[in-house]
Subunit: 206 residues, 2 copies
Amino acid sequence: MRGERELFDRTAHLFGSATDIACAANTLYTWAASRPGTGVRPVPDLQGRRARKIYLPSVLLNAAGVEHLRLLRELGAQIRITEREINETIILDGRLAILAAEVTPDGRSYTVLSRPDLVNGISSLFEAAWRSSTDLAAFETRYAELRRHTPRLLDLLLSGCTDETAARTMGVGLRTYRRYVAELMAALGATSRFQAGARAKEAGLL
Amino acid sequence: MRGERELFDRTAHLFGSATDIACAANTLYTWAASRPGTGVRPVPDLQGRRARKIYLPSVLLNAAGVEHLRLLRELGAQIRITEREINETIILDGRLAILAAEVTPDGRSYTVLSRPDLVNGISSLFEAAWRSSTDLAAFETRYAELRRHTPRLLDLLLSGCTDETAARTMGVGLRTYRRYVAELMAALGATSRFQAGARAKEAGLL
DNA sequence: CCCGGATTGGCAGGAAGCTGCCACCTGGCA
DNA sequence: TGCCAGGTGGCAGCTTCCTGCCAATCCGGG
């Protein structure tokens, strides 16, 4: 299955009837429930249903992401954050799994699985990831500070200047600037600056 | 104007009638003539018309890009490469200019200008960029070698490992690996690895 | 007013990355 | 065979980046 649109059209009814939704996502700009193209994204009604979501810390780096997560939480979703890379996955009622594959020029492609053994395997992986991840609340405070610096930080990193000039531009010590960068990279789960650049772009922060 | 689709729908007839097309682009996956979504992109018929295009070297980093450029050239387009950053721009018959703006979640937005003074100013900027850029042929040979290494190189850079391990993985000396990286960065017009990562992502190389 | 926690930023030492230089292969080509 | 051109990779010296340590500073609560 290719492209968010097709996925959305063909699985909307499944989301409507599912009572247990488990979802792992890297960015907000994916999946049926949070399609780009609309300012305020449609959020499913979660009355009497269980929804669990795992995100990477990078969604906490911009205000819009935090806002969206808060909204989801108010609607009753359980949200956790993991620092380890995770494949985009949805599991519905432990009976249906949707896995995202590579992003191609014409959009991302998805695979929908319903074979019980496969879905069970994927479910157990999700459960493990869920157990090893941390509740949103714990991360919110930690990232509030970092989020303040992030926009300028990203601009400077993207400009390709040295840390020295970047620090001066921000009016901050070299040590502090590098601390910011290190924190940002941790939030992106990156261990090199190249990786950080690619992930920042991927996360839509640039 | 928002999104490639709208731009395409509303300007297709202009492209059809224009006899002098000047175009500066950063990637192949933009603009009406090369919309994503189709494997083989529709290429306009250039019979008896003048088409000039300026690209960044990064389009030469994957085989598909080279292929596309060759095709365009065979159709009669003049293609040049510039190493300096350039804003995406189209000028039709010196009378109409289309400028691309920021990429937003719902697609890129475009501005269409027809005021003669503005279009003249933009045209002269394009002419300057055209004069200072180099013909495709000169770059093709230079990048043929680099292109061979690029995929593995990008994988390794994206993995976040050190140059040392990356070099070992590639079965190549540290000095050579770093030479490759330096060449890649030059091709991307990047002066820091963070920038390189972001641009590689942007150029669709990851 | 003082205290404790948080943020800052200098310093130092080390790790990683960058690049000019040059010697060494290897594969054409006369 | 001799020569040339281009890719390779070690080395050295340099820059940039990373981080633990610690003192200085700021700020809200008691």
